[in-house]
Point group: C2
Chain length 237, copies 2
């Protein structure tokens, strides 16, 4: 009787990856150990070096091992693993929770970049920017307060944009490509005015995401996103 779930007669890179990972986790190959070369592993697993290579490359991407030509593949200590967070639009984040999204513009003005912003974004003197503040609601409950600055020099047509119905984040995603992003997260005590928008008390802890976006070396936008207390950013891996 033939096998109903036939075993493939070849060895997948997944098999190699799983086996190697298991040996690392069971400390059969402890940190700092140099693993057998790809050729040797290919012999052991009866597959080609290409297959071993893909397995090892992925393990390296995931932070388990480090590879160097001539030296070989070394097992890393205290695995420098990486957490990944999906960066999405607020609207998508809210809708993904099954809530209804609502947007409301607060202020929108064209001004000369203040000193602290000039310094932070490396702008030249007297450079004009668009400053937008707005709110994002989930099921009509405050969710996020957005405080955004857009560099007019890199997106001249922003001066004609209408942020009354469409949020500046969605507008930017549609209008401007970007090449680099810097994000940082921190916790602050809310100032009275922002707390008011968020329906919180002044001094309440707020999770703040700060993001700067570049297009080929030129700053496009800088934004502070203040969340209501209780907000939580999660990932599993």
């Amino acid at each position: 009787m033939p096998n109903l779930v036939p075993t493939p007669e070849f060895v997948s890179y997944r098999d190699v990856k799983a086996t190697v990972l298991q040996r690392i986790q069971e400390k059969i190959w402890a940190p700092d150990t140099i693993l057998p070369s790809e050729v040797d592993l290919a012999l052991e697993f009866s597959c080609t070096r290409t297959t071993v290579n893909r397995a090892m490359r992925e393990l390296a991407d995931e932070g388990y091992i480090e590879r160097k030509r001539k030296v070989g593949t070394r097992v890393l200590k205290s695995p420098t693993r990486h957490a990944r967070f999906a960066i999405s639009l607020v609207r998508e984040e809210i809708e993904a929770r099954g809530s209804t999204y609502r947007y409301a513009l607060s202020t929108c003005a064209q001004i000369v970049a203040p000193d602290w912003l000039r310094a932070r974004l490396n702008l030249s003197d007297g450079q004009p920017v668009v400053h937008v503040t707005c709110m994002h609601y989930a099921d009509n409950e405050p969710f996020q307060y957005e405080d955004r600055w857009i560099n007019i020099a890199s997106v001249p047509w922003v001066v004609d944009a209408d942020f009354n119905t469409l949020g500046p984040n969605e507008w930017l995603v549609n209008e401007v490509p970007f090449t680099d992003i810097e994000m940082s997260f921190s916790a602050v005590n809310l100032a009275a005015d922002i707390a008011d928008f968020l329906g919180s008390a002044p001094g309440d802890a707020s999770f703040v995401a700060q993001r700067t976006t570049w297009l080929k070396g030129d700053v496009v936008t800088f934004v502070n996103l203040y969340h209501t207390s209780g907000y939580r950013m999660s990932t599993r891996y």
Copy 2:
């Protein structure tokens, strides 16, 4: 005279990747567009399908495109990009900043898991855990307050561990492998006792990292890491 920097006579997957990415960013291939098949791209770039495949696979990993058999490769809207954060030991994080690390144990006790912890970690009734609280300093300034729970059932020998000189995080990294991690970040107003440890005022906003670690389905440890105000977690990509 021969070319001093000879151009390779083959096409690298990097070339393909860069070109495709550029076309996506310039909206030559707008969101929802179905890209040419791998075979067609291979023809266009005069390379093998293997090479095109690697380029496209990486673009898919990075969240620019989505691939489905038979359907083809589709450009994603508002690129769901991912931010990556390196998860390291506090000690390594502090030393990477060029500061001197110091550790101090606060409390260490073996108790029965309280209800909220049982519920959160899915432990059975009356299960014992080790509860450790300790401080991490950078250049003798408070940096992080650690509040950790370790499941004795999954690491029985933890009862013999000595956390007076070695922090529980380093001990765990050395002793126990793990297969899954869930992390979440939030902002809280510090309680008086923890604020005291951190040299902050009660109510100050603190960036909190919360992490649960599993080994093949069994919870190993759960930890709350409270940071001093001003702490910032950053990444660039």
